[in-house]
Amino acid sequence: MKYVEEFRDPKAAKGVLAAIAQVTNEIGATREKPVHIMEICGGHTHAIFRYGLDKLTPEGIEFIHGPGCPVCVLPMSRVDECVELAERPEVIFTTFGDAMRVPGTRKSLMQAKADGADIRMVYSPLDALELARRNPDREVVFFGLGFETTTPSTALSIQQAAAEGLTNFTVFCNHITVPPPIKALLDDPHMVLDGFVGPGHVSMVIGIHPYDFIARDYGKPIVVAGFEPLDLLQSVLMVLEQIRDGRAEVENQYARIVPDNGNPVSIAAIDEVYEARPSFEWRGLGEIDASGLRIRPKYAAFDAEEKFGIGYGGGQIRSVQEPDGCACGQVMTGRIKPVACPQFGTGCTPEMPLGALMVSSEGACAAYYQYGGARSPEPAE
């Protein structure tokens, strides 16, 4: 129990861990026949490795790392389009720093910047708005990336730009949504999933009801969780108890932050500005129905796809092959562990990522690399 001392409340953690061991026993889960619990959110993946939860919990529990890291599921073709936009002389391309090192087929945004493209890392789409105000002779494009947690911010920024009548601000919208990939994974006959730990901050925006289908149609438990280690352990326990009792429900462990119905202002802004695309490509998972958002025609003036004729809206949907020897797709779907990828730690490291799962600290490969893999002898710290 190497890490328990680090917990805010080590005694409580020990209590929950004992309960987890007990319920795992009651279920009869063993290392050979484990229960598979997917944590959907990359923040949870990071926390699981950081605190060694995968090692503290019984061997009968197998964590499957879900697709909840927006940088990790970004296909190379989208990165290529970003680079193409950024290399236009009139464009100031603005992005969250996380996206800078994601490899494209030609180059990453980092390399494009080194080659002279005007690319600026911003903290918020509000910074991009301000850049547009200050640079009326330039085109400011914001790379809209992320799940429902960041979607309201770009929706509200577009509304603000419209209210001000800005004509040099657009969003390259690559927002994605959490429920559709979960459905796709549940429909995948190769996937074995017994329950889910649901994302906390995404749910703060959308509430817990978008997950109803998981319990109702697929008979699987899901517990929305906070990202403190104790939150995660409690949520795992709640999932296990549901499995033991033969229940399948949507439960909310993070009710202190997550209202069951989400945040009404955010939901309204998202609905007003965005609509679902027929389908959207996910790195490692392929095209998934209704899993990405696009800007509604009403706000077409703020849509970089429309303005620059690029991406899905520009009609040039491209899909490109992943680099040779990269196993991102298999890791993404939980078929293999990161260490089983031939590139892991050699051709692919956080400094020089080959695959996107190595780029962000929320990616499963980067988390393995940083903290040591599941059940490996000693974490690399």
Partner: protein
């Protein structure tokens, strides 16, 4: 990018655009408060909120703010967010 960071609203800076100054771990940053503005704006002063990429998304109490900040520090995310804020400031000046 996905995890919010707690900040305390210290001043309403632009009521029309629903902007306020927040204190995030000692760093002052202007944030949008549309998602938490369900009453008079002035009543938000002194309140804590979870801030995502410049938008206050959810009101939290002080104790929750402290706990969340500690969890973020443990994950190294607090520092990352503060650095991203600084990078954003630099980008406005054309320095990054």
């Amino acid at each position: 990018m996905c995890l919010g960071i707690p900040g305390q609203i210290v001043e309403i800076t632009d009521p029309a655009r629903l902007m306020a100054m927040a204190d995030v771990s000692g760093v002052r940053r202007e944030v949008n408060i549309a998602c938490i503005a369900d009453g008079p704006l002035e009543s938000l002063i002194g309140e804590w909120a979870l801030i995502h990429v410049g938008f206050a998304m959810s009101r939290i109490d002080e104790d929750e703010a402290a706990k969340t900040l500690e969890a973020l520090r443990g994950l190294g995310e607090a520092q990352e967010t503060l650095e991203a804020m600084a990078a954003g400031d630099a980008a406005l000046e054309g320095r990054a």
